[in-house]
Amino acid sequence: MWGEMNVLNPAIDFQPAYVLHTRPYRETSLIVDCFTANFGRISLVAKGAKRKKSSQVSLLTPLLPIHITWSGRGELKSLRDVEVAQYRTVSMGLGYYCVMYVNELLLRLVPKEEVLSSLFMAYNHFVILASATDLASQQLAWFTEQLRRLEFLLLNVLGVGVNFHCQPLTGISIQPNLYYWFDVENGFVEATSVKTEAILSKSASEHYKIVQGRDIFLGEQLLQIGDFLQNQNEMIVPSKGNKEAYLTHLSAPARHCAKRIAHLAIMARLGDRPLKSQALLRKVWHTFKDSS
């Protein structure tokens, strides 16, 4: 992995990075979108990368931690050198598609050249988790939680984080036994005027409900999600044989709610253009989830 010194010393050479996406550029070159530890998201031209059948092109691939050296101050920089930071065997199951989904999120939402070191560290951690786990069915719920953690961190660093502990408009704490409307602009607002028990019974399979075009949630789930996101002690990579490491922290209803809230908040940022990787992720999820 990258040395501490490289992370702390933002020189322009041998910067810790991940490739988010590559696309062909002119006849023989590639445009490479990278997420770097010290310079944020940047775009580079890898000149002649396609022509050379070089080792360079095989290193410019998602999921592989690399060091890159570049020159140029404009929006499109010139890639000078690329080295592997650490070879890694990668599971090509569900984890891969989840990383691709996150990569597309970063490409769409993270502004270029904004230094986001905490997000980079979390991203690095997520890629390690995604690569290291086969995501057999018993790990799926656990992995889902890790994905949610990254999504909500992304929203935080973009300045549109969701507060799961209090209502932003009034500053009043969220209570476990009360119901709350959610919308992206106002966050959670207590649902006082609606007979929510009639709408959302605890025994129902639905853990949230859309009423008059708005989503309504039970405080208990929100607090659980909030506590989970605050607890950062979970940032460890489980060893393969250790089943306890895959213990989940959210109840199934809370996980269900977290997914819906993340979806709403992210969709609001994306606007009219949906993510391309999402349809494939959904399809693959259903293909892989039953396999052990």
């Binding site: 092109v57 199951g93 293909t287 892989f288």
Partner: protein
């Protein structure tokens, strides 16, 4: 810059890979000055090929018939199917002379961020054929890029669900290597030492 017809020809030539404005100009003048007969032949061939050639109903390689020569050859074993990314890969296998099964051409690989999913690669067709039970072994010969590996993994999962033996070309294919650049011997070796995944 030149007359409209010449400009149009130069513009048209630029669809070819590796042809920029300078090369297009050189080609256009060469055709007009020295290869008028050949140029006419090229124009006719292009038109016939574009009109006539589409995907084989069996393996999705390019052909103007409903089934290609390999799929129609009764001596070949249709129970073994080798999945490749491009028609050029078929050529590489055929030159190695050590494979007598059928093929399935994806014309690409899964690429989530570019929105390329299983249906775009005909994997749904392959899936229904697996379900019908006529295939007994799948050999996954997609590229050794991350995208090629992910594509292989996805198809392997479909194969396993249908209780089909799935193997992956392993040794002899260098990291980031592309099949069409490998020599026959290397490929034959890779084929013989394929591993079940």
């Amino acid at each position: 810059m030149f007359s409209p017809l010449i400009d149009e020809l130069m513009q048209a030539l630029r669809v070819l890979p590796g042809v920029g404005p300078k090369s297009a100009q050189r080609m256009a003048f060469h055709l007009l000055e020295q290869e008028r007969q050949g140029a006419l032949q090229l124009a006719r061939s292009l038109e016939k090929a574009i009109d006539g050639v589409s995907y084989c109903n069996g393996c999705r390689t390019f052909t103007e018939e409903s089934f290609c020569g390999i799929c129609r050859n009764v001596k070949r074993d249709g129970r073994t199917v080798c999945v490749v990314e491009s028609p050029a890969d078929i050529l590489a296998f055929e030159q190695s002379g050590s494979y007598s099964g059928h093929y399935f051409v994806l014309h690409g690989h899964l690429s989530p961020i570019d929105g390329i999913g299983p249906e775009d690669l005909g994997i749904d067709i392959l899936e229904s054929r697996l379900a019908q039970g006529e295939i007994q072994e799948l050999i996954l010969a997609t590229g050794s890029t991350v995208e090629g590996e992910a594509t292989a993994h996805y198809i392997a999962e479909l194969g396993r669900r249908n209780e089909v033996t799935v193997s992956r070309l392993a040794q002899g294919v260098p990291l980031g290597g592309e099949l069409e650049y490998l020599d026959g011997g290397t490929l034959a070796h890779a084929l013989n030492s394929r591993r079940v995944i």
